[in-house]
Point group: C2
Chain length 206, copies 2
DNA sequence: ACCTGAACACCGTTCAAGT
DNA sequence: ACCTGAACACCGTTCAAGT
């Protein structure tokens, strides 16, 4: 039997999501409108509502597409490495698409991203291994997510502003990859504050 | 001499901001549009652009209005209390207005809130007293802000969803103030993780 | 100095009717 | 099962012209 109305799992829904991701990458989230998406698919805007309940749900599906590479199963190591790797993979996935951090941040806040729920659960699990009480684990996981999303939204808006020609080119003496390494080290600093804080609460800090 | 065009410091600008805050409190951020704001002020939408460059700037001014009570000068105590009090006053201010957390979060990300810059500077200062290297102080301050904003956006959306009649009333056996006390303790837990993390990096944890 | 009127170029969403 | 056509009720922003 076919999928229920507005269950975005059909083949047509997949093509809608793929085209939406294309628009996101090429023009940014401001240009990802229902009408434009429909136009580029050579359909009418109303037809999208046969596949998705509303725009929020569609953006949630695009967010989950962006997050696909961040959800490969990680090795089972100590909790510190699990948190670090999950956070870095999340940041990398967001930076791989124009306005990726903003899109995922909005979809997470709206409760529309299944993969963000999955990442949250993995982080919460890791904090339990760190010694956090089970009733505080979800909040501890959310705290890490707030940091990663906040940091990366900020980072990406600066990166895209600079890439749009506003930067003085002398500012970074090295190549763009070096700029990413620089903010990458900043990212790790903030993350280590959180991990150290979790270790202290558990009574076992390195 | 009068103020420069689009410097939102005049008396008319203040009345615009006051009316915008009123709309925010009574109807939420989705209803805070330039056209509706103009209508309630009995002017034309275009006239708002004589006082504000664009909607982002106006929302930034409203955000700073929301943040006014969060910026009273705090006592000079130890860095832990300065961080705790600044965070709690920020959260309290956000919870005092409908969609306050969402508004301030967006304005902070857009770099449109002078008072958020001030709060960030105070937090960064406190982390220096905690022993954070000066080149990392702003990031440490931002990390605290990411937490407070992320937590409070979440908390407020749940509170407002529940207040809109979606909750089972048996759920919290006590009065609404008790529900706030509960999330208040959750807020303090996450904050203490960050403070402990900062203390560890400085080598002096309590 | 401040505001109007009118336009420009759009939005998200619904729904009867078609195939 | 899926899409069209057309409507509904809006948006932010600009700018010549008025007072």
């Amino acid at each position: 039997m076919p999928q229920h109305k507005r269950d975005p799992s059909g083949e047509i829904a997949s093509r809608i999501i793929a085209k939406a991701t294309e628009i996101l990458d090429n023009y940014g989230i401001a240009d990802l409108t229902m009408r434009r998406l429909a136009r580029e698919l050579d359909v009418t805007a109303g037809s999208l509502y046969w596949h998705f309940a509303d725009k929020q749900q569609l953006l949630g599906a695009v967010a989950d597409e962006v997050l696909r590479p961040a959800c490969d199963t990680a090795e089972a190591t100590d909790w510190q490495h699990r948190i670090t790797e999950a956070s870095q993979r999340l940041r990398d996935a967001l930076l791989s698409h124009t306005d990726g951090a903003e899109l995922v941040s909005a979809s997470f806040a709206a409760g529309q991203s299944a993969r963000m729920r999955q990442i949250l659960a993995a982080l919460a699990d890791a904090t339990v291994d760190a010694g956090v009480a089970p009733e505080n684990a979800e909040l501890a996981g959310r705290t890490i997510i707030y940091y990663v999303l906040g940091f990366t939204v900020d980072e990406q808006s600066r990166l895209q502003w600079d890439a749009a020609g506003a930067l003085e080119p002398e500012r970074s003496l090295l190549d763009p990859r070096e700029a990413l390494n620089h903010t990458g080290r900043a990212f790790e600093f903030g993350l280590s504050v959180l991990i150290d804080g979790l270790a202290v609460r558990a009574g076992n800090f390195s």
